[in-house]
């Protein structure tokens, strides 16, 4: 959980809690898998044409107003558009098929009891996978994700009501499947 200790070397070979069981997601620990290049973060990110970088500290205005948090104009302008966000994948066991959560800090969702009263930050982004059967095991370390930003009130497959969604680019979904597939083959 200590991101200050994460080094470039760590990103190269990341430990994944891996599974490929689409229906009942139970992660098998301590397996190694190569993280897809398309989401790897190991250097300063170069800008990409047509895609806006959105940082987690650009979601809300500060100081906080008298009632709830308020969205920044930048974020409101990006609704429905392509964005790239860098963050940490929340660790959940078992993983929920069709989605995972991107958080500004490494967050570990504990027991099922605490599941819905948890430590998710308000700007946690619920990443939507075009393959609704795909359960992605926890990837440790920073990752970059590109997709279409949606803002609203969404009932998620894991029971959360979310505010921010990222419809993950299908190319990345394909890469994730491929990475998991490689690992699955290696297991056999």
């Amino acid at each position: 959980m200590n991101f200050s200790l994460l080094s470039t070397a760590l990103f190269k070979v990341l430990l994944l809690c891996v599974l490929l069981n689409h229906s009942l997601a139970h992660a098998e620990l301590n397996e190694k898998i190569y993280i897809p290049k398309s989401i790897e973060v190991n250097t300063q990110l170069a800008p990409v044409a047509g895609i806006t970088d959105l940082k987690f500290n650009e979601f809300y205005k500060t100081p906080v107003g008298p009632k709830g948090l308020e969205l920044t104009p930048k974020l409101v302008n990006l609704i429905g558009k392509k964005v790239r966000i860098v963050g940490y994948m929340a660790k959940t066991e078992p993983a929920t098929a069709g989605m995972f959560v991107l958080s500004p800090f490494p967050v570990d969702l504990g027991d099922e009891d605490e599941k819905l009263v948890d430590d998710f930050p308000p700007n946690a982004v619920f990443v939507q996978l075009s393959d609704k059967n795909l359960a992605v095991p926890t990837i440790q370390g920073l990752i970059k994700l590109t997709g279409t930003l949606q803002v609203g009130s969404f009932e998620e497959a894991d029971g959360h009501v979310s505010t921010f969604r990222l419809e993950l680019d299908s190319e990345i979904v394909k890469d994730l499947k491929q990475a998991l597939g490689r690992n699955s083959t290696a297991q056999k």
């Binding site: 959980m1 200590n2 991101f3 200050s4 200790l5 940082k55 987690f56 500290n57 979601f59 809300y60 500060t62 100081p63 906080v64 107003g65 008298p66 009632k67 709830g68 948090l69 308020e70 969205l71 974020l75 409101v76 609704i79 940490y88 958080s103 500004p104 800090f105 490494p106 967050v107 605490e114 819905l116 009263v117 430590d119 930050p121 308000p122 700007n123 949606q150 803002v151 609203g152 009130s153 029971g159 959360h160 009501v161 505010t163 921010f164």
Partner: protein, 694 residues
Amino acid sequence: MKQTQFTRHCISALVAATFATAAASSFAAPTIARLTPPSNPANVNANALARFLTSQKFDLQTTVAPSAGTTISSVAFAVDGVVVATIINDGTTANQFLGNTGLVKTGLNAKIPAAGVANTAANTSTVNTPANTVVASVRGYSNNTPGTHTFTATATDSTGATTVQTGSFEVVGLTLNNGRPAKNIIVMLGDGMGASHRTAARIVAKGYAQGKAQGRLAMDTFPQTAMVMTSSLNSIVTDSAPGMANYVTGNKAQNNQEGVFPDDTADAFDNPRIEYLSEYLHRIKGTSLGIVTTADVFDATPAANAVHTSNRGAGTGIADQYLDDSNLTGLSVLMGGGRKWFIAKNSTVGAANPANTGNGSTRATSSDYVLTSDIQSGWSANAGAINANRDLIGDFQSAGWAYASDKTSMLNAGTPSKLLGLFSYSNMNVSFDKINGRRGASTIVNDYGFPDQPMLDEMTDSAINVLKQNPNGFVLMVEGASIDKQAHLMDSDRWVQEVIEFDRAVQKAKDFATANPDTLVIVTADHECGGAAIIGASATTAANLQSIAGGATHTTAVQRDAVVGTYDAAKFPTYAMNADGYPQTPDVDGKILIGYGSNADRYETWLSSAQPTQDSQQPFVGQAPLNTYPTNPNVRNSTTGYFVTGQISGDQAAHTASDIPLSAYGRGATLFGGVIDNTDVFFKFGQAAIGGVK
């Protein structure tokens, strides 16, 4: 011969059948798996575990498991042999509620207490819940006759077999017309504040010379002192929910539970209730209740004065019940952090309503509540509703509450009849960072997005000004919440300043009680946190500590052996205090050093940490600039300090079972002394407020 054999066989068969019948009838009786209120496992009659004031309300409840193939047809409750209620099962699978009685058949936990230990509170043995198990309740029972009472639950099954379980509770009689009553009760609750926390604050704030303290904390000046045993119903080491609730219900609660006894249903808001001090005095005397904390107001300590739940984490329901049951508690002041529970979960999509979208609400249907009708009936309680979209700030305002979002608006609110103050998204920033923000020395509070948070003494002042308008008096609980939270994080410099902030609030309460002598003030804690101890003082200068931390060698030889001065080497640390009441800097030459008995792994430099350790409840945690803050004590100072191996697992130091000191001032203070149980405090409040003191 044949005939004889035949007869013998017949006799054997008859005997076998007789045994079988006997066995069947002994197994056929229902099992009473839990009887509430819980009774003393050691001796039912000698020492009642559950104690109540005369007319104090509580629920009677029992969990009854039928033997295989049978169902429960009725459950009767009797007190001293007189039937209180008989609940007849209608034979359906639906839960039944009639008036203040209930029979719950669905939504039970997967496990219930094992048979044969139903009378004991310390039962940890469980079995799978048998089919057709029921939980029967009588809500809002009370008894006016002082003394020990026996109560029984009689369960009858579909074969007519019955099981009777007997328990006991005590009604504590007050000495009435015993002098003048205390009109107001103020509970100053330093969360996690043990004797060491108090001593450390005194050393820093007042200084010592030639063996004598050069001044006294406000809490030191209280004339009466007691030692308090803090254990909960199920452990010698309590958490904050029972730690607070036990003071204001007179009964032992289970860890994580507040204002209730444990039960066997999944619903976190249907546990057997115990009437709080606030509810009892509001019902009898018409008092108001004030709750002031530096934590999120849904946190265990504040909630354990007004909210009945077995899940201290059920934030949506807890925040709702403050308002819903304010007619029962007299709640008129609620101040602290925790705005995230009070704003509607975004109910509309996208930019159509940006003001209400992505507002950071953590309201969720899963942590909300609705009460069963027996509870509503027995307690005159509001039903509640499952509603994540509730605009709770708006509902408070509609109910006549003024709302303050920061220090400025709190001061501008004047003296409204009711005051809601929500000064941050979750827990408020600690005094170390609030004061440094006011001094312009750091931007921590800006980083959190709440630059104008009040100090606890300022909140206490505002609260008292609102509450004192009630001619019937008030109950006020003021919590210094982050003494505990920073002790968990082993951030010594931050919790010492939390105690100093808390003591400034104590001074406000004392000043009020001096001017209004019909007021009782106690200063206490729910438990000790960290096993904190003042182990000595730095044997070197602050500059040298900085230099060591910045150097390449971080070993016990360099940072422990050469630094930690014990006995004579500790001398008398001296701190310069600013006009704002806080130390100019915690990093003085020869500063006091704190060790921890229930420590987790940490790195120690003995210097204050410029940044607080991250609080995952905050909105901007993990993103710039908060992402530069240390995530845990086990990484904080990892490049500047030496490693101290924890004695417990996990990221944080833990609560301990050590007794804590209690100080009392004002009307009824003389009731306090000796070594007492935390539940005893409730009955002293009762004597002071109802019976009076000479």
